[in-house]
Amino acid sequence: MAGELNERRIVATSKAQDLVFAVLGIIVLFFAMAMLATLVADLLIDGLSRIDMQFLTDFPSRRPSQAGILSAWVGTTLVMFVTALLAIPLGVGAGLYLEEYAPKNWLSDLIEINVSNLAGVPSIIYGLLALGFFVYGLGMGQTVLVGGMVLALLILPIVVVATREAVRAVPSGLRESAYGLGCNRWQVVWSYVLPSARPGILTGAIVGLSRAIGETAPIITIGALTFIAFLPPSPIQASPPFLNFDWLNSPFTVMPIQMFNWTSRPQAGFHENAAATGVLLLGMTLVMNGFAIFLRYHLRKGLRS
């Protein structure tokens, strides 16, 4: 009798604790969401009315109402393209090697610690490295390519760590069965491990790219421009070979730089422009993430069948 009462009390206490934690969780979630919603709403109220075709197709100007972000969004798109092209293959390759190929010794431990630490290095350090090494050391100048390279370096640790986590989460039964069927290591990695790890890798790539798209400090450090009223040469041309890589060596600006410049100007009109740029940057990040989520969803479906 006494024992039963005691048990009931324990159950009741546990339930109460559950409830308290659930309520606490909801409150915390509410605060976080409210904060985010306030920020986004503030940005939208200030900036939404400014976004129109003119804003997207005009170059920067001294008159807030005539200023646009054509050179900035084209710059951001090109730089992100270079960043993704460099960071994803390199990061995934490095992650796969560390997880599947590297012997477990002090050297790989050292590399592992360093990669994790690199993820926490302030972005301006990468900017200084790029300025000293790429821009002056190698004489590459302040170009789209260098911008893409510095951002790729910046997010490389994120992609590496995400890849390793994803690869580690692949059930070892899968690997062992494949080995059992006579696959060699490369075949196992390429045909079994990589496809199963792809959703996780993609998440890491997206987290990385979302960080890169909003970075200002390293891009300013390498000396990206603020006023630039022309676009890089088109990557596609009418005559053979149809592809043109001159844009890689073109000077550029990116959206966060325009925002940074506009927020510090005295005229209220420029502050509106900055808010509008913020909204568009948010939109670009959302589109990028949405595309990745879509891709991940389809890859997962493919895995199940």
């Binding site: 197709t57 170059f59 920067p60 100007s61 001294r62 054509l70 084209v74 798109t77 090109l78 393209f81 993704a84 092209l85 994803i88 302040q142 300013i220 000396g223 990206a224 421009l225 603020t226 006023f227 630039i228 009223a229 022309f230 676009l231 088109s234 990557p235 596609i236 000077p251 730089i257 410049n261 927020t263 510090s264 100007r265 005295p266 005229q267 209220a268 502050h271 595309f291 891709l295």
Partner: protein
């Protein structure tokens, strides 16, 4: 991953459709670019000049935002055609240029007035002297001068809240030189910011605050803050304004802003000379400088500056130091000789 790449190519194709090549004007080298970098204070002027020059001549202009110091470094490396500056070039920067064999032509392009501001509801501060400002801002004031009645006995015994430019800015350098007599010497216990809009918000939010910033910010925020007149040597109180800065009656807080042109580039690249001619034609310059909130030089100063450029007179008027109260006429007195 293939899809990702495909999408990227699609995005590039999209940008290709948007190619808005600048209008082809006869005889203009499509690849010629006037490369400008430097001060964020001068940026609105350079942006306006760049925009109009590109429209008028078809030559491309790019402007960076590396700061005055960063601009001089690039100038001395020979990377850019023009460095913009909110203070004169320093001795060590002159040395740097000398080492790499870069000669420069120093041209004042506009004036900027610094304004001391208070809350619009502050009725007791009618005018301040430089000595009073020094009492407030000197390094010795740190932790000691905390209430208004310590500045002048008649003022209320209310705490002063101070706002001002951060130590990285040319505004800070100039304000400390002009008020405290030594560049960089200032109390540290004030709200320092690189963004003058923060100073506006701060001063506008407290009845007993005081701050300093560029005149353009005061004009744009009329009603939110009130500029304080400064007592001149002749005893007259002068409020900061474009007119007062232009006729040099507002002292010591008005300063010249500069272009430093790479002489070799000016000789070898015709588009650089064309840009300077455009920038220093009084009609264009006066209009554009005033439009972005700065103080145009006196009209005759523009032709003097142009003459100095044409004569390719190199070197700095300031001999590596910073001086207070230099007028554009003095700066250009030896121009063209």
């Amino acid at each position: 991953m293939k899809k990702l790449v495909l999408c990227g190519v699609a995005a590039l194709a999209l940008t290709a459709c948007n190619q808005n090549a600048p209008a082809d004007k006869g005889g203009v080298d499509r690849n010629a670019i006037v490369l400008i970098d430097g001060s964020s204070t001068v940026y609105p002027i350079t942006e306006a000049l760049g925009e109009e020059f590109q429209n008028a001549a078809g030559t491309r202009v790019t402007v960076g935002l590396s700061g005055t110091g960063g601009g001089f470094k690039k100038l001395c490396r020979g990377e850019i055609d023009i460095a913009t500056a909110s203070r004169p070039i320093k001795a060590e920067e002159v040395e740097l240029c000398k080492q790499s064999g870069v000669e420069f032509i120093e041209l004042p392009v506009a004036l900027d007035a610094l304004a001391v501001i208070v809350h619009p509801g502050n009725s007791f501060v009618d005018c301040l002297t430089v000595a009073e400002l020094k009492t407030i801002w000197s390094p010795e004031a740190q932790g000691k001068i905390t209430t208004w009645n310590q500045v002048r006995p008649g003022f209320p015994a209310e705490p002063i809240k101070l706002f001002g430019a951060g130590t990285d800015s040319g505004t800070f350098d100039y304000f400390t030189t002009a008020i405290n007599g030594e560049e960089g010497a200032s109390r540290g216990d004030y709200t320092a910011t690189e963004d003058d809009n923060v100073t506006i918000t701060g001063v506008g939010g407290d009845n007993f605050s005081l701050g300093f910033l560029g005149l353009a910010y005061v004009t744009e925020n009329a009603g939110k803050v009130r500029p304080v007149p400064i007592r001149q040597a002749n005893g007259v109180c002068v409020a900061p304004s474009v007119k007062a800065a232009r006729d040099a009656s507002y002292q010591p807080l008005s300063r010249p802003l500069f272009f430093y042109v790479n002489k070799k580039h000016a000789d070898e690249r015709p588009h650089v000379g064309a840009f300077i001619k455009f920038a220093f034609s009084p009609a264009e310059s006066e209009k554009l400088v005033a439009e972005v909130g700065y103080v145009p030089l006196p009209t005759e100063a523009y032709s003097l500056a142009l003459a100095k450029f044409e004569a390719r007179k190199t070197g700095s008027f300031f001999d590596g130091g910073s001086r207070v109260g230099v007028t554009a006429e003095e700066l250009l007195a030896d121009a063209g000789k």
